[in-house]
């Protein structure tokens, strides 16, 4: 919390630099004026979409990542290949082109398959973020699961556990300690990348900032506020990750 306070201090120091003819014109988001208050409400209203978008995308990515990671650990060469191709391919696509492809291209493909799906900006952004991020979560799972010794899987086999039971009761509970912190970190990436949703018209934080800039011609103040909006979100997640790491780390257990 202390660090957030310092950041706000810097923020308000900057704001005091304003002068009538100077570079800063904080009046656009001055909460004491009616226009300023309206602008603030509009800008801050973007939190809702940004957060919702990020959370849904993160959950999807966590799920897809697992489905992509598990084949990497199988003995089947074809399944391993699937994992490598998916990870290398998805990881190499920049987010913006993928977003355009999903938003403008995917409906065309679906239509040709007889599915008349209209992908709106919200779901277009979620699909893109989730898939783009899943290549990274898959690698996180793989590293975490492979860090558990082979002896654990073998011991599970000798007491008759099948693949699912081995994962569920033996491997995952141990791997999770190593997987959760980087997975939570990955959530920060999603939150930041969700800004790209603005270009397909999703009214999240960045889009709203752009819209006010166009009408008010005060990019400096509004984008400064925008940066602080993301900063707050990311700092909150950081605290969460720290907390998680501490909690999991205290439960240290040797891996025989």
């Amino acid at each position: 919390m202390f660090r957030i306070l310092i950041l706000f201090l810097i923020f308000f120091t900057l704001s005091s630099c304003s002068s009538p003819e100077g570079t800063w014109g904080w009046y656009v988001i001055d909460p004491s004026t009616k226009a300023g208050w309206t602008n603030i409400k509009f800008l801050v209203g973007g939190f809702y979409s940004t957060i919702l978008l990020s959370i849904i995308a993160a959950f999807l990515s966590i799920f897809i990542g697992l489905v992509v990671a598990l084949p990497a650990m199988s003995d089947n060469k074809l399944l391993q290949l699937f994992n490598r191709v998916y990870v290398e391919f998805i990881r190499s696509i920049p987010l913006l082109p993928m977003l355009f492809w999903v938003f403008y291209g995917l409906p065309v493909i679906l239509k040709s398959m007889g599915i008349n799906a209209n992908i709106d900006a919200f779901w277009g952004a979620i699909i893109t973020l989730a898939i783009s991020d899943s290549a990274f979560t898959a690698e996180i799972y793989r590293a975490g699961i492979q860090s558990i010794s082979k002896g654990q899987t073998e011991a599970a086999k000798t007491i008759g556990l099948n693949y699912y039971q081995t994962m569920r009761y033996v491997i995952m509970p141990q791997a999770l300690r190593r997987i959760l912190p980087p997975l939570a970190n990955q959530f920060i990436y999603i939150v930041k990348m969700s800004a790209f949703a603005s270009v397909i018209g999703m009214q999240e934080l960045t889009r709203r900032a752009n819209e006010i800039v166009v009408t008010e011609y005060r990019p400096l103040e509004i984008y400064t506020l925008l940066i602080f909006e993301y900063l707050i979100l990311v700092l909150l997640i950081s605290f969460g990750v720290r907390y998680l790491e501490k909690k999991l780390g205290s439960n240290e257990s040797a891996n025989s």
Partner: protein, 246 residues
């Protein structure tokens, strides 16, 4: 219809890449028989018992467990005949308590109720003489205690055959006897077992047969009395000299 043999192995051959780890092994083990396997490091002892319980697939030959044949290159589980396995490194589940380690197999694999699994697990902890450690995590126990938990975990599945892969090699010397005692007790109760070990005192006491392996082959096998008194091959003599006078 009971088979005479608990394990029948015929022409078992297994390679890792170009390296032949097992070379046409023939071995029959009777029900209730106790077989000790020894031999220099890298001679294929672990590979052999890992082939028996299906942890390792093999290239050629045939393994039958109580008459059920396993084929090469196949996930070779024989579900109605559970084979217990005790590893050199214990391989206990570190995130579970001792009692949970024991209950996991019976509950998830045999479908026992929590209550029945608990009763069975408690009984086995008595048998390996550590009932008071039930709620501890494995890493809070000594090596000897951990290995006894591992034995109890295997016994929880009520196996008809127990495999031990150097069960005392990772232990401090003062803990070896407490683990061997448990295995000796098990032998007295009539369990069929294959034990890879270099504890020759133990071998003399429980083995019906001692097998000496070298270079992926069974070089020599005999009753304990004959094996120690009158080793047939130079390789075996040399090996016995090394481990008996070190």
């Amino acid at each position: 219809m009971e088979n005479t043999f608990a394990v029948e192995i015929e022409g078992l051959t297994k390679s890792f890449k170009d390296f032949k780890a097992l070379d046409t092994i023939d071995l029959n083990i009777k029900h209730g028989e106790k077989v000790v396997i020894c031999g220099p490091s890298g001679s294929g002892k672990s590979t052999l018992i890992r082939c028996i319980n299906g942890l390792e697939d093999f290239d050629e030959g045939k393994i039958s467990i109580s008459g059920n044949t396993q084929n090469p290159k196949k996930e070779s589980y024989v579900s109605d005949f559970h084979i217990g396995m005790v590893f050199q490194q214990f391989n206990l589940f570190p995130h579970l308590s001792v009692i949970e380690n024991l209950k996991l197999g019976p509950m998830k694999s045999l479908g026992l109720s929590e209550k029945d699994a608990e009763t069975r697990a408690r009984g086995l902890l008595e048998r390996v003489k550590i009932p008071e450690q039930a709620l501890k995590k494995p890493n809070q126990l000594s090596g000897g205690q951990q290995q006894r938990v591992a034995i109890a975990r295997a016994l929880c599945m009520e196996p008809k055959l127990m495999l031990f892969d150097e069960p005392t090699s990772a232990l401090d010397p003062e803990m070896i006897s407490e683990v061997l005692e448990v295995i000796v007790d098990l032998a007295r109760e009539g369990m069929t077992m294959v034990v890879v070990t270099h504890e020759m005192g133990f071998a003399k006491k429980v083995a019906d047969r001692i097998i000496f392996m070298d270079g992926g082959s069974i070089v020599e096998q005999n009753s304990p009395g004959m094996f120690f008194k009158n080793p047939q091959t130079a390789r075996c003599k040399k090996f016995l000299n090394q481990i008996l006078h070190h």
